[in-house]
């Protein structure tokens, strides 16, 4: 039972790290970025290339994956995304799906279409027993890293000037601009960090989700569920939604394997019909 809970949390945490960037673009910038998974995939492949092909230690590859995805994200934001901020959602969909197609095909071209796994150091494999709870070492690592990221995010958001500027920009974009906050730049940096986190999540998650060129489309649905169920008004919303989704998915499949496939979709529909702003969104919006 507790093992199930543990697995669910690890899975949920992973979803959170990948999706939290999407919550920012979607919720704060009102941008339907269906290509978010592509950044996760790029981060994953970056780690794969480093570890498997160049023998870089696994832990060293994680920050590189973050930086790589973040830099690409920043570049894409400044050159392409910026043209779409004031466009209709449909045009944003068209644009970002186009990006997904391009990255998928490009990855296929350069790295092949096989599933890829990152070679893990042996001390991260297997699991140990902790008072009867089976704890997978790698899952524990995921939980630790994701928890660390969550804490760092909260710290940055809560205790740095950048964090307060970002929250200010989200609270009231117009007034923030009028009071000298360069909202464009704040959002661009945030976008980059979101992409970086997705990249990091992609690298961390390669072991569980597996890497392949169709990763962005395959998991897009999950990321969207996290964001739409969690709401986008804070970090905690998507976080709780991810955990709930992780546990719900894992537990649902454990206890009712026959219907496991329906559980998350049904949860999502029910939540959205009852609370269109998301489960954890603040009551009033705007």
């Amino acid at each position: 039972m507790l093992t199930i809970l543990f697995d669910g949390i690890a899975y949920g945490m992973l979803l959170f790290v990948i999706s939290c960037g999407l919550a920012v673009t979607l919720g704060l910038m009102n941008f339907v970025n269906l290509a978010h998974g592509a950044f996760a995939m790029l981060g994953g492949y970056c780690a794969y290339v480093l570890v498997n092909l160049y023998g870089v230690p696994f832990f060293a590859s994680l920050p590189v994956a973050f930086m790589f995805a973040a830099m690409i994200g920043l570049l894409a934001e400044r050159t392409l995304y910026v043209h779409f901020y004031n466009r209709s959602h449909l045009e944003q969909v068209l644009f970002t799906i186009g990006l997904v197609f391009m990255t998928s095909a490009a990855v296929d071209y350069f790295l092949g279409s096989q599933q890829r796994f990152i070679n893990l150091p042996s001390y991260l494999q297997g699991r140990f027993d902790f008072f009867g709870i089976g704890i997978g070492k790698y899952r524990l690592l995921i939980i630790l890293v994701c928890a660390l990221i969550l804490i760092v995010l909260q710290l940055i958001l809560g205790y740095t000037r950048f964090g307060s500027r970002l929250r200010a920009a989200v609270d009231d974009q117009r007034v923030a601009r009028g009071l000298g906050i360069n909202v464009n730049w704040v959002f661009a940096l945030t976008f980059a960090v979101g992409c970086g986190l997705a990249g990091l999540g992609g690298a961390l998650g390669a072991e569980i989700l597996s890497l392949e060129p169709h990763f962005p489309l395959k998991f897009m649905i999950y990321f969207l569920i996290v964001v739409s169920v969690g709401g986008t008004s804070s970090i905690t919303g998507p976080f709780l939604a991810s955990i709930l989704l992780g546990i719900g998915d894992v537990a649902g499949k454990y206890y009712a394997p026959r219907y496991g496939g329906f559980v998350i979709y049904t949860i999502m529909i029910v939540v959205l019909v009852l609370r269109p702003q998301g489960l954890f969104a603040r009551g009033t919006s705007k």
Binding site: G98, L99, V100, M102, L217
Partner: protein, 333 residues
Amino acid sequence: MSSLDTAKDASNVMTRKRSWHWLEYAFWLAAAASVFLLPSQHALLTQIAIWSLFALSLDLLLGYAGIVSLGHAAYFGFGAYVAALFAINFTGEPVTGLLVAGVAAGLLGLVTSLLVLRGTDLTRLMVTLGIALVMYEIANQMSWLTGGADGLTGMPVNPVLGFFPIYFRQANSYAYVLVVLFVLFVVAKRIVHSPFGYSLRAIKGNPLRASSIGIPNNPRLIAVYTIAAAYAGIAGALLAQTTPVVSLTYIDFQRSADVLLMLIIGGTGYLYGGIIGSALFLVAQKFIGNITPQYWEFWIGFALVVIALFARDRGLFSIVERIAAWRKRGAKP
């Protein structure tokens, strides 16, 4: 302005939007001619016509009522399965099958429409997506009935109305699909140019104002959702009747996403967008695919980005319109 002084003239200006432009006649004549002139492409044309109908149904929703859907394949797939099962168990007469599939998909649309009334674009995207995913799962799990991932085969396709054979008659089959598309297009055109159709535009344009001039928003949205679902179901039934197997790909996410892309490429809100979009998409897929079977997706993606960068809501047309406007401006400095 003097010509507009009578009510009759003013009315004509409005109703003229419903009448046919000569280019539309030309378009449909060309389509009819293709039955005789392009036998080598009938298979592709048939697919284009079916996708066109599917995209047309989404246009009714998105282009006129402003409801975005990422799960429209739910109704397409449902219609296809209903048509196939109906043909296997009752009669293989295609038109009957279409009607049954349309009614069944419409009913499904009617029930599920209640879920998509509220919320923003994002909520609607996700709820429609959820509906389609659940439908997919159901079709997969009921493999005793649907064949699941192996597909449903053995569907009889009798002559249309008892005299017009389409099974393994490429040309007849294309003619049949084209006629269905044309009839439903004409009906759709009537609908969107009716008071009902205009009330949808009003709701899409400004729901607050629509309700404050007396339009009952929700019943109208439910009605159009039902109609669109029925159209999608008929499109699905057509594909089932012209392909020897109905499989889970009829109902998968990729199909919902593709039809949305096709419609946006062609442009929403003027009924031809879906036809143009699906023609472009499939022709590009085929011919780029013939050159590079593995990497055609890259070039399609590239095209999407470029279209998105330069086009507006009307899809590709806006690019043409902008070029035309620019040339006009250049012509008279």
